[in-house]
């Protein structure tokens, strides 16, 4: 029941159970499970914070630092799944119209740009981690080595770049 001019997809805000995942070499379940665990932990830690403060008048504000770290992990891990599913926010108006060849070329171009950006971030952030390690930076809240946090930036950025590359290859195979 696809009509002309009608967007064939829902906005990113709404999960569409009718659209199954494309087959990927590395299963998307990895990201999905990590997303569920991180999201659950974030909710539990923040809730525990409210309860503890309410009943004991103590705050464990130091959990803020860990919550922020979990949020960064969530953005990168779930972001990686969203790249593989091509659910990033983008302007579909021109990219999803015109001939199938044009649509495919633009989809590949988009995936390639995501790949370039996150490869760049992954490479450059290695230097950030090295500096944190070399100068023995410690985190402001808990005082643990800062590189324990930042080391995940290159790792997870590489994962996103890999997902973008996978999308680029899949879009190339479609006829």
């Amino acid at each position: 029941m696809s009509h002309p001019h009608e967007p064939a997809h829902l906005p990113v805000e709404i999960h569409d159970p009718a659209a199954p995942d494309e087959a990927t070499v590395v299963p998307l379940k990895i990201e999905d499970w990590l997303t569920v665990i991180t999201m659950g932990l974030l909710a539990l830690i923040t809730f525990a914070n409210v309860i503890v403060r309410y009943f004991t008048d103590q705050s464990f504000a130091w959990t803020e630092e860990f919550s922020v770290f979990l949020m960064i992990v969530l953005s990168l891990v779930a972001g990686s799944a969203s790249v593989a599913r091509n659910r990033q926010i983008r302007i579909e108006y021109f990219a999803d119209s015109g001939s199938p060849e044009r649509q495919r070329a633009l989809a590949r171009f988009g995936a390639l740009m995501v790949f370039v950006l996150f490869t760049l971030i992954a490479a450059l952030s290695c230097r950030v981690v090295w500096d944190d390690f070399r100068f023995e930076e410690t985190s402001p809240g808990i005082g643990i080595p800062q590189w324990w946090y930042t080391v995940w930036l290159p790792v997870l950025s590489t994962a996103i770049a890999g997902r973008a590359l996978g999308l680029f290859i899949r879009r190339g195979r479609e006829q």
């Binding site: 029941m1 009509h3 001019h5 009608e6 967007p7 829902l10 906005p11 990113v12 805000e13 709404i14 999960h15 999905d32 997303t35 569920v36 991180t38 999201m39 659950g40 974030l42 909710a43 923040t46 809730f47 409210v50 803020e64 919550s67 922020v68 770290f69 949020m71 960064i72 969530l74 953005s75 990168l76 779930a78 972001g79 799944a81 969203s82 990033q88 926010i89 983008r90 302007i91 579909e92 108006y93 021109f94 990219a95 999803d96 633009l106 989809a107 171009f109 988009g110 740009m113 995501v114 370039v116 950006l117 760049l120 971030i121 450059l124 952030s125 230097r127 950030v128 930042t150 930036l153």
Partner: protein, 432 residues
């Protein structure tokens, strides 16, 4: 030369369908490299630093939590019971179901923080009910899509949280309070044309013959839903929780209602709820963090000052400039979603706001009203995408109906511009 390149590269990539975040990040990185050709590594170390710093802000944690609240309440069965209760109050008559749809959407706006999620929750219940009463599906889709747009004005609101992170002078509680009156006015401004159109076109003729739910029973069933905004907004007001904590309390309250009271959420649904809200949060947060790279390159290149200078000296005057900004944002809003508009334009417009000494909270409400209008202005109307899909109509079919409702909400925006007190009175009264 480099600033021009920044904007040309950015706009070209965006129009070609490259994800907004990647366009922002790449254009920003390219300009940083060109501007620092002599520095070590072309100054590009600023890229991961700004990316990490853009994400590492505690207030942003409210975004995944409120997205999770929306996802849970969507499934909690609260919307259906609120609809029954609203029908029990207003009764059955011509034009009453559109009124109920708008009222319930506004009420759910006091729980969830995003328009499309609201459109999905209200649409799932109201669109079939309205079809059964004889309303054309395209009309129902228009009413639900427009009504859900009040969600981002009525606190809590993801849009206000993003704005607050961008603008130092506007706290989340102040913005939430400031959105309340304009949000309710926007809802009223939708009710008038919706009921008027229903009566004029003699829609919903079957409505009067449908049974009216008993008042006390529907009140009892709706109690759990009715208490949710009181818990969220009242808890913040009483100083029990910060916005993030209020969201997480609402998460567990919603889970309790959905799993224990209404039994609409099963344990196995938790995986889907956490996964989809996690992914949606990540989609928003990645744009936020990559926009940090773009904003950094804007500030180091010093492009904003000349643009501001040209605009404020253009002889248009304060309200001329404001009208021009709104016209521009309405045009951009046809292609871009609300969060991206905030991330791209708030840093650009900020010096203009300071030059005219506009209140940052008031300006945030104006921008959010504009984004709310954009959520049901075709062709890129995220709320209408959701509601037309549920109603099984094309988005074009809603055009004859949304026009008057757009006009109604537009008048509210003009009113808030003319009388800033509409937005600013409540936060001042509450002492934010």
């Amino acid at each position: 030369m480099i600033p021009t390149l920044l904007f040309v590269a950015f706009i070209a990539m965006m129009l070609a369908g490259v994800p907004i975040g990647a366009s922002l990040g790449l254009a920003g990185a390219a300009c940083i490299a060109l501007a620092n050709a002599d520095a070590q590594w072309f100054g590009l170390l600023a890229v991961p630093q700004n990316f990490y710093a853009g994400l590492g802000k505690y207030p942003l944690l409210a975004i995944p939590m409120f997205v999770l609240v929306g996802s849970i309440f969507d499934r909690s069965g609260v919307a259906l019971r609120l609809v029954n209760f609203a029908v029990a109050i207003v009764g059955r008559g011509p034009g009453m179901l559109p009124l109920v749809a708008i009222m319930v959407a506004m009420f759910l706006g006091g729980i969830s923080g995003s328009g499309p999620a609201n459109a999905a929750a209200v649409g799932a219940v109201m669109i079939t009910a309205m079809s059964r009463a004889g309303y054309p599906p395209a009309f129902s889709a228009s009413v639900v899509g427009a009504a859900a747009a009040t969600d981002i004005l009525i606190p809590p609101s993801v849009a206000f949280i993003v704005y607050s992170v961008l603008v130092p002078g506007a706290s989340v509680p102040a913005l939430f309070a400031a959105g309340m009156v304009p949000g309710v006015l926007a809802g009223l401004a939708l009710i008038v044309p919706a009921v008027w159109m229903a009566r004029k076109h003699k829609m919903g003729a079957l409505e009067a013959s449908l049974p009216r739910p008993p008042f006390w029973q529907s009140l009892r069933e709706a109690t759990w839903g009715l208490a949710a905004p009181i818990l969220i907004l009242g808890g913040m007001r009483a100083g029990w929780f910060t916005p993030t904590e209020a969201a997480v309390v609402a998460v567990f309250y919603g889970l309790f209602v959905g799993m224990v009271i209404h039994r609409t959420i099963k344990v196995k649904d938790l995986f889907v709820i956490l996964q989809e809200s996690g992914e949606l949060s990540a989609i928003i947060l990645l744009v936020v963090s990559l926009a940090g790279i773009f904003a950094f390159s804007l500030s180091t290149l010093g492009v904003i000052d000349p643009i501001t200078h040209a605009i404020v000296n253009s002889g248009l005057g304060e309200y001329g400039v404001l009208a021009l900004l709104i016209l521009m944002l309405i045009t951009v809003g046809m292609f871009l979603d609300g969060v991206s508009i905030f991330l791209i334009f708030v840093p650009l417009l900020w010096p203009i706001v300071q030059f005219y000494n506009w209140d940052p909270v008031w300006f945030g409400v104006i921008l959010t009203l504009k984004v709310a209008l954009g959520q049901f202005t075709p062709p890129l109307a995220v709320n209408l995408m959701v509601s037309s899909r549920i109603a099984g109509v094309r988005m074009e079919d809603t055009v004859p109906w949304v026009g008057w409702m757009l006009f109604g909400m537009f008048l509210v925006m003009v009113a808030v511009i003319a009388w800033p007190e509409l937005a600013l009175w409540l936060p001042r009264y509450l002492g934010y």
